[in-house]
Symmetry: C2
Subunit: 467 residues, 2 copies
């Protein structure tokens, strides 16, 4: 069931391990309640689960040392980036040591001629783009939150730009990983493609820290387009907005971003970000390319929007206007949760084939209309991926159950349409049963890999599946 926490055995840290960690890590090893409290809660509805200690990694050697000490003591390690994951992906369900990677935040190299860079896993995506801004390059993957690159690789993050630039599966060229045995491996060289053996890079991407600890990431970058135009367009109906996107994709318009927000989400955004957009189903667009190519894309999309009840486009072409627009989009989660003060958020996520998207969103919208829990729909419709965000009253005990049922209905609908239970949030704790519903016996192959790589179940135990 979504939200169920696997019952793991929690073993206290042995005194010998504590002594060894104090000696090795000094004040980069912490056990105080105030510190632990920062690592026990998450962005969404999962119960607080505290680790027994936190270690702050400053180097690959720190990671190797920690893995060897924890392996010897049989104590779990939970790699932790920025804590922005929303399916309980970094919750210490069996206690153990949370390994905070955020201090490994160096950009190690930028190869402008090769359109790639090498970073430590604690680099955050916004800081990476600041670092790159004078070099005519950017890193496109944008899950909304200012996540770490290591965390984004671990959850196979995507977001607003994925329709054009792909997901972390496409962005990661190579990884340096510390195995559960404390070996340091590199999964690939820096060539843009390779047929050399099994694709370990793609295996670690999306493995949610259960197979190894990422200590270095080589990322593909893209040239900053000559022209970037962003626009907002509101629609009479949600279906009109979805159909505009589906037909734009079918016309091969290389949309760089296309986000849908339903009317309720727009109300929330206006209130939270102090804006005054029409409170109607809305698309946020971004177009990239040469001036003539962007003009051509816009012409096609405007005609399609008009044919589907779209308003005039409201343009944001200057960088600061665009930032404002996308900041409003990125704050949509907080805007939606805070429709009610003191509410708990629950964000779910499905992805379906484009041909089923309009139907999937329409049926979901109808369900939400009958719900007593306020909820919004928004998402990366160019991929067939959308979210529902619920704003749950923590003092109303039936609301959590109601949301569980609505979430179940949504995921079942997506699976019945040959879609997936998660386009980008990952499985974590929240979608383990749905993973089995989606892929059946294939999950056993995943377990074989986990057992082969990590027979002690040392790394982020209890995530994706219970062994």
């Amino acid at each position: 069931m979504a939200g169920t926490v696997p019952s793991g055995e929690r073993k206290p840290l042995p005194a010998s391990l504590v002594a060894a960690l104090e000696e090795r890590f000094a004040d980069h090893f912490q056990r105080g309640d105030a510190v632990l409290g920062q690592y026990g809660s998450s962005e969404t509805h999962f119960a607080t689960m505290l680790p027994d200690a936190v270690v702050y990694a400053r180097s690959r050697d720190d990671v190797v040392a920690l893995v060897k000490l924890c392996a010897a003591a049989d104590i779990p390690i939970i790699p932790f980036g920025a804590g922005t994951s929303i399916e309980g992906n970094a919750a210490p369900v069996n206690g153990g040591i949370t390994l905070d990677m955020s201090q490994m935040d160096a950009v190690l190299a930028v190869h402008t001629e090769d359109f790639d860079c090498v970073v430590q896993p604690g680099v955050r995506r916004e800081e990476l783009n600041l670092h790159l801004r004078d070099q005519g390059l950017f890193f496109p993957i944008d899950p909304g939150a200012n996540a770490t690159i290591g965390g984004m690789a671990s959850t196979r993050a995507s977001g607003t730009n994925a329709v054009r630039y792909g997901t972390m599966k496409d962005a990661v060229l190579s990884l340096e990983v510390v195995t559960p045995q404390g070996e340091v491996i590199r999964t690939a060289r820096r060539a843009r493609k390779s047929a050399a053996g099994y694709d370990l890079t793609r295996l670690y991407v999306g493995s949610e820290g259960t197979l190894g600890i990422i200590t270095e990431v080589t990322l593909r970058l893209h040239p900053v387009p000559d022209t970037i135009s962003a626009a907002v367009c509101s629609f009479e109906t949600l279906g009109g907005a979805v159909d505009t996107v589906v037909q734009s994709i079918q016309c091969a318009v290389p949309l760089a971003r296309v986000e849908i927000l339903d009317a309720k989400q727009m109300t929330a955004v206006n209130r939270w970000s102090k804006l005054d957009y029409p409170e109607a189903p809305t698309l946020f667009f971004e177009f990239h390319g040469s001036a003539t190519h962007v003009a051509e894309q816009i012409e096609t999309v405007k005609a399609l929007a008009e044919a589907h009840g779209g308003s005039a486009f409201s343009w944001s072409n200057r960088p600061e206007e665009r930032s404002k627009l996308w900041r409003a989009r990125h704050e949509a989660y907080y805007a939606a949760v805070n429709m009610r003060s003191g509410a708990i958020g629950w964000a779910t996520d499905v992805c379906v084939p484009m041909s089923r998207l309009a139907e999937c969103i329409a049926e979901t919208h109808a369900d939400l209309e009958t719900s007593s829990v306020p909820a919004t729909i928004l998402g990366h419709v160019g991929d067939g991926n959308f979210h529902v965000i619920f704003s749950i009253d923590p003092d109303a005990p039936t609301e959590m159950e109601e949301v569980e049922a609505l979430n179940a209905k949504l995921v079942e609908r997506a699976l019945a349409m040959d879609g997936t239970c998660t386009g980008e949030h990952g499985i974590g704790l929240g979608k383990q049963d749905w993973l089995v519903a989606e892929l059946g016996e294939a999950v056993e192959q995943m377990r074989l890999i986990k057992r082969a790589f990590d027979p002690q179940n040392l790394l982020n135990p209890g995530k994706i599946f219970v062994l």
Copy 2:
């Protein structure tokens, strides 16, 4: 060492297995010498290795039945597509049963709205594109040979269009696979992206038939561009041609195809395909997009070519002219091998970061100039990927050694430049030592997966690595 054949134990087929296979497969089970001979040799220089029998699969159930019978008798299975692989990837080194998938050649579904299709693994890429031609869609991956989709998935094929459309890693949305235990699994749903668990799709893509037998492939398709323009441009120097490509990529021109052929390769192509191109370093280009976008791309690339000693562009805009041009490119391997009559071909393949490509090609060209074995350079330079094709006299015993040494030097050079020992041909038999040189301890992680999935070493044993 490249070209070394692992010494495997060869176990005769037990009589009970032969009886069971005859009963189950009737005349789709063959043991005659004439039939076996078709499966023992390969496109390149590897010694002939015969299987003990051939089974022709007609269905997933056939594959499951064969796997169960062979697992019980401990007899290897070598999945086989069109036999176009060139690193000995489908050679039956330990004997056993070659499983010919070419009769499973149905296109099961085309979802035009979703830009995807579902095919059996024996469908060949040219036949798939014939099937799609009235639907405004095409399948872009083009390794030259008319390979099967299953074989292309197994070797992570790419080819001329990869610079724009990616490789099989990007083209495969989902696989149906029969495991070495005879279980049928599906690796993903049909959504365009997913964060649901480990990326089994990408694990099987490129695993060269060692982890499972592919029985169904869901492929991403692309809309046929409004405008397709192809051009040939010759250069004063090889370096001028390479620099034109590198700078075009750096200017973010979305080249659909860009192939380099050195002067010797052009001589071979002219002779083989009865053409009269200038016998100088040459680029073959293809541009895709709207008319204005293609015109814009061409303008940029023409200016760059001119600045680097390029000739005027010779255009092929009509489909039949384009076919002729690309047929000449696709026949380049045969053209090169047949520079000497009766010669044996050896095609090797490396891929390096773009910033090192000019240097890598220049140094390789200088090596080849001193060689007594005729050799050409050609490749997919937009990816940093190129090939050397040697035309070896089988009666000159030193030539094979000379080629081994040149190949070793090339691969070492690519690795020293942070490149890979194979951009697209795979490891097979030929590059096992180079895989270890390239990825070191990471190869042990690959072995862990192979042992976990296939503890009997039933599927295509001796490929990628020796267990």
